[in-house]
C-alpha cells in the first residue's frame, strides 16, 4: 500500500475476536474504510454484524484485535479519549433505541443541545428541518416515540444520528421494514451525507437493492470474518458461493449447510 493510499484510510479494524459465553461471534474480523467511502456490510441474520458495529464504536469491548480511527488506536484508550472519539461518530441502532421519555424534537437534538445552548424554539426548528428531509411532517415533533410507527421511529433515529453532522456514520439496517419509497428517501440521504458532507459511512443492510444504490464497497461477513470485500460492481462476479447465494437470495447453498465445514474450506480465500 502506498503512503498516499494509507493516508486515506479512515478506519482500520484488524483481527477482531469477540465471544459470548465461548461462542466466537467475531473470529478474526478485519475491515478497513477509506475517507468518504460508503461501505455496506452484508451477512446472514445472526452473523455478528451488529456486534461488529458495537465493537467499532466501543459499546462492546472485543477480546482482542485492533481498531484505528485516523491512525489512532481506539481499543484500550482512556475514557476522555473515548468520549472525544464518540463525538465524531453518529450511529443508529437496529431497533431505533429512541428515548421513550423524550418527545421527538428532543430526541433529534439531544446531542446538539449539549454542545450549544439552544432554546426550545430553535431546537424544534432544527429538528423540523432534518425531519422534513426524511419526509416527516412538523406534527411529529411533539409526539413521543411510542406514538410513532416503526418506519417513523427509524427515520427519527436517523435524524438523531445525523443532526450534528458527524464525520463517521454507522447505520444498522436503516431501511429494513420500510416501504420502497421511504427506503429510497433514506438511501438518498445516506448518499447525500457521503457525497456532500464527506462522511465515512458503514451501513449494515440485508436489502440488496439499497446496497446497490448506496455502496461504494461491499463486505460480506460470514462465520465471524469478512469472506469478501470489494467494489459493488464486482458483487456478481466474486466467485465465492456464499456471496452468490446471499446476493441472489437462494434458500439452498453453503450459507445454509454445516457452518464449521464452510469456515475451514473458505479460510484460504479471504482477501481483505
Amino acid at each position: 500500500m502506498t503512503d498516499e493510499k494509507k493516508r486515506n484510510v479512515k478506519i482500520k479494524i484488524s483481527n477482531l475476536f469477540k465471544n459470548f459465553g465461548g461462542d466466537y461471534v467475531l473470529n478474526g474480523f478485519s475491515l478497513s474504510l477509506k475517507k468518504s467511502e460508503s461501505l455496506c456490510l452484508i451477512g446472514t441474520s445472526g452473523s455478528g454484524k451488529s456486534v461488529a458495529l458495537k465493537c467499532l464504536i466501543g459499546l462492546l469491548s472485543p477480546d482482542s484485535g485492533s481498531i484505528t480511527v485516523d491512525d489512532q488506536e481506539t481499543i484500550g484508550q482512556s475514557r476522555p479519549q473515548h468520549e472525544a472519539m464518540l463525538k465524531r461518530f453518529g450511529m443508529t441502532f437496529q431497533f431505533g433505541a429512541l428515548f421513550d421519555s423524550l418527545p421527538v424534537w428532543e430526541n433529534v437534538t439531544f446531542r446538539l443541545r449539549q454542545k450549544e445552548k439552544l432554546n426550545k424554539k430553535e431546537a424544534k426548528e432544527i429538528a423540523g428541518d432534518i425531519l422534513s428531509q426524511l419526509g416527516l411532517a412538523h406534527q411529529v415533533l411533539e409526539l413521543f416515540p411510542a406514538e410513532l410507527s416503526g418506519g417513523m421511529q427509524k427515520r427519527v433515529a436517523i435524524a438523531r444520528a445525523i443532526a450534528d453532522k458527524p464525520e463517521i456514520l454507522l447505520f444498522d439496517e436503516p431501511t429494513s421494514g420500510l416501504d420502497p419509497i421511504t427506503s429510497g428517501v433514506i438511501n438518498d440521504l445516506i448518499l447525500n451525507s457521503v457525497n456532500r458532507l464527506g462522511a465515512t459511512t458503514l451501513t449494515i443492510s440485508h436489502d440488496m437493492a439499497s446496497v446497490r444504490q448506496i455502496a461504494d464497497t461491499v463486505a460480506m461477513l460470514h462465520n465471524g470474518r469478512i469472506i469478501w470485500c470489494g467494489p459493488i460492481k464486482d458483487i456478481n462476479h466474486t466467485g465465492i458461493s456464499e456471496v452468490d447465494q446471499f446476493v441472489n437470495g437462494k434458500p439452498y447453498g453453503p450459507l445454509t449447510t454445516n457452518k464449521r465445514e464452510t469456515l475451514q474450506t473458505k479460510q484460504t480465500e479471504i482477501s481483505v
Binding site: K54, I57, L59, E83, L86, K87, F89, G90, M91, F93, Q94, F95, G96, A97, L98, F99, D100, F110, R111, Q114, R160
Partner: protein
C-alpha cells in the same frame, strides 16, 4: 462434592455481586459530583419518587398508627397502663414503623419502576444510544435517581410520621375515649428530637438503597422482557432485604 461445588459457586457469585455493587456505588457517586448536572432529570425524579409516593406512604402509616393504638391499648390495659398508648404510638412510629414501612412500600413502588425503566432502556439499546450521544448514562440516569431517593424518603417519612401519629390520635379519641388534650400532651411529652432524627437518618439510607438497587439491577438487566422482569423482582427483593438489615444495623449503632 456437588454440594461444595455449588456452595463455592454461590459464594463466588455473591462476592462478584458485592464487588460490582461497590464499584457501581463509587462510580455513580463520583458522577453525581461532576458536571454536567441534569437538573431537569433530578426534578422529574423528585416528583416521581417523592410526590407520587405520598398516597402509598400516607395510607400505610395512617392505618399502622391506627392499629398500633388499638393493639397497644389491649396490651397495656392488662396491667393498667392504658395512658401510655400515646407515647407508645409516637415512639414506635417515628423510630421504627414510619421509616421501615415507608421504605418497604417505596421499595415496591419506586424500586420496581426504576429497575423496569432502566432495564427497558438497557434491552432496547437506549443506554448504548445515550453513550453514543455523548451522555454518560451513570450521570444522566443513575445520579438523579440516587439523589432523588435520598432526598425524598426522609421527607416522605416525616409526613408519614405525622399522619401515623394522627391515625393513632383518631383511634385514641374516637374509639378508646381518651381526652384530646391529654393524648396530645402525652404524645409530645416523651418524644425526643433524636427519635425523629434517627428515623429520618434511616429513611435517607433506605432511599439510597432503593434507588441504588433499582438502578443497579436495571443497568445490568439481562436481555429481553424476561431480563427486565428478573431485574425488577431482584431490585424489589434485594432492596427490601437490605432495608431490613440496614434498619437493624443503624438501630444497633445508635442504641441507648
Amino acid at each position: 462434592m456437588g454440594v461444595f461445588q455449588s456452595l463455592g459457586r454461590s459464594g463466588l457469585r455473591l462476592c462478584h455481586m458485592i464487588g460490582s455493587i461497590a464499584l457501581f456505588i463509587v462510580f455513580s457517586l463520583r458522577w453525581c459530583l461532576i458536571p454536567p448536572f441534569y437538573g431537569r432529570q433530578i426534578v422529574r425524579q423528585l416528583i416521581d419518587v417523592g410526590y407520587y409516593s405520598l398516597p402509598v406512604v400516607g395510607l400505610t402509616t395512617l392505618f399502622s398508627g391506627m392499629v398500633l393504638a388499638l393493639q397497644s391499648y389491649t396490651g397495656f390495659a392488662r396491667f393498667s397502663a392504658e395512658d401510655t398508648v400515646a407515647t407508645v404510638v409516637v415512639l414506635s412510629v417515628t423510630r421504627e414503623l414510619g421509616p421501615v414501612l415507608a421504605g418497604l412500600m417505596v421499595a415496591g413502588r419506586v424500586g420496581a419502576s426504576i429497575a423496569a425503566e432502566i432495564g427497558t432502556m438497557r434491552v432496547t439499546d437506549q443506554i448504548d444510544a445515550l453513550e453514543t450521544l455523548s451522555t454518560r448514562p451513570m450521570q444522566y440516569l443513575v445520579g438523579p435517581r440516587l439523589i432523588a431517593g435520598t432526598i425524598c424518603l426522609p421527607i416522605l417519612v416525616l409526613i408519614g410520621n405525622i399522619i401515623g401519629v394522627f391515625g393513632g390520635y383518631l383511634v385514641g379519641i374516637y374509639r378508646l375515649g381518651f381526652n384530646s388534650s391529654v393524648y396530645l400532651s402525652k404524645t409530645l411529652e416523651f418524644l425526643e428530637f433524636s427519635d425523629v432524627m434517627l428515623g429520618l437518618l434511616k429513611a435517607a439510607i433506605f432511599g439510597f438503597i432503593i434507588a441504588l438497587m433499582g438502578c443497579y439491577h436495571g443497568y445490568y438487566s439481562g436481555r429481553g422482557a424476561e431480563g427486565v422482569g428478573k431485574a425488577t423482582t431482584n431490585a424489589v427483593v434485594s432492596a427490601s432485604i437490605l432495608i431490613l438489615i440496614a434498619n437493624y444495623s443503624v438501630t444497633a449503632l445508635f442504641f441507648g
